[in-house]
Amino acid sequence: MAEETLRRKREAEITINTAWCKGCVICVELCPEQVLVMERGKAKVAHLDKCTVCGLCELRCPDFAIVVVDKNKSPKTGE
């Protein structure tokens, strides 16, 4: 499956729940590709194209406010 995933193009979808986001900046600073920025105290996607779907922002967001999905990964077959 890992193989299959690699072969596919990664197309990210990042959802930010601004009602839950507390603006801790963790996602912004720990994103290796600088995909995110802060705006009015909340995280915001600035460069979606750069996203490699590594999921690090989601992993460390303490507030369940950011969700990253690989759009090319079918929900059914995903982990």
């Binding site: 900046v25 460390r60 303490p62 369940f64």
Partner: protein, 271 residues
Amino acid sequence: MFNYESYLRLDKFPLIWCSGCGDGIVLKSMIRAIDKLGLSKDDVCMVSGIGCSSRLTGYVDFNTLHTTHGRALTFATGIKMAKPRLHVIVVTGDGDATAIGGNHYIHAARRNIDITVILFNNFIYGMTGGQVSPCTPKGKRASTAPYGNFENAFNISGLAQAAGASFVARATVYNAVQLEKLIQRAIERKGFSLVEVLSPCPTAYGRRNREGTPVDMILQQKETTVSVAAAEKMSAEELEGKIITGVLTDVERPECREEYQKLIDSFRKEG
């Protein structure tokens, strides 16, 4: 497909925790671990004491119990002894578990009762506004240690080991993937299992001790910790001031409820 939401009480969100608090990262790791194990939500019972971390039980869609300060393990012991089929997980802070709750902590470990303890160590009393904890490192400031803590701190994992726990591990929120795996192993291991998670408290601890932003505090964990494997290759001087992460103990020992079941069964056979 895995999603956090099916394990959460979404109507209770947003979380009570401060912006940048590490506790949410631990919560997520716990949910992933439970999901990986495929436990039924009905069979999980999560018990907490009092403190910021202990508020966790309000957010998860299990059988949840938010007890009195320091006493989570006593309630959990009652639940596990009465209904052993439940997976009992205790959520507790460093103050809750090792200050007021220290006795129950060592006794639950001694009994090696099949409870998984996720101990959120933020080195401070968060909920009550930053008083010193038995885990506050010497010299660090707290609202009740304005000149720096003059007391020695506990090695709480070491304490659980000495008391008789089956599984003891230490983890960071920085390494949330390892954290998840350790929680998974802790739940799997029959007996008393502890995962001590270093969870930054930017509000009550970080600010007072000039530890920087939440991001700084998370990244600092990378610097101050070494894995068990790496530690083995290091000299005592090199290890000075370092915190060891990974599995510290993983042994099989007689488990309390199972031993008791043997007693019950001995009468069943007779009868």
